[in-house]
């Protein structure tokens, strides 16, 4: 158990409204990631963070922003939700090995978001 929680677990919202998803970890890991999962696409990276206030874009970042003001929390915001953002969102963490390399990630339980 990597000590990752996501909230809310389910959300239905209307097109055009802002939405914020929260990822919380208890293990003080430096690296955190947001993915979306869609049928036929596997998981695609939205944004990631390598420390407090240090974030960067992933493969599918358009329409999303992130913030990390504390080590334990990584927030994903949809500024104006669209139907194409209906998806399951996963947060993940990683921690450097003894050599400093990053390898596997550990995932939270996911948030199912429906935009109507």
């Amino acid at each position: 158990d990597a000590g990752i929680t996501q909230s809310p677990r389910h959300k239905v919202t209307e097109t055009g409204t802002p939405v914020t998803l929260r990822c919380h970890q208890t293990e003080n890991h430096r690296y955190m990631y947001w993915y979306r999962q869609d049928p036929g696409h596997g998981l695609r990276l939205i944004h990631y963070s390598y420390g407090v206030k240090d974030t960067d874009k992933g493969e599918v970042s358009d329409g999303y922003s992130v913030s990390r003001s504390k080590t334990e929390d990584f927030l994903l915001t949809l500024e104006s939700a669209t139907s194409s953002q209906t998806s399951v969102y996963f947060c993940a963490i990683s921690e450097p090995s003894g050599t400093g390399r990053l390898y596997e990630q550990y995932f939270g339980p996911g948030t199912r978001l429906t935009v109507t």
Binding site: G40, G42, L43, Y50, G100, R101, L102, Y103, G110
Partner: protein
Amino acid sequence: AQSVTQLDSQVPVFEEAPVELRCNYSSSVSVYLFWYVQYPNQGLQLLLKYLSGSTLVESINGFEAEFNKSQTSFHLRKPSVHISDTAEYFCAVSDDPGNTGKLIFGQGTTLQVKP
């Protein structure tokens, strides 16, 4: 750019039969390879990983995968499946020179074990 292809979207198999889930990646540069499993309505769990050394890696529940550099493949196998192995399986690759930890995932393969 690196890409990962899982050649089968669904694999139906009878209980106690062998199974192979195929995974190919695009780049032959130094890579790290992973298989994750996702049970219904859950997050992804790491099943096994190849970082270096022996090309055959095993999981605690009987799965194994073999890294084949010449064929750029990392196929997952199990000699005898159980009903409880029904899940979606994802292959992932990292060839991450910047050490950001970013993973590239395949599209996923749904393993359906039938009694």
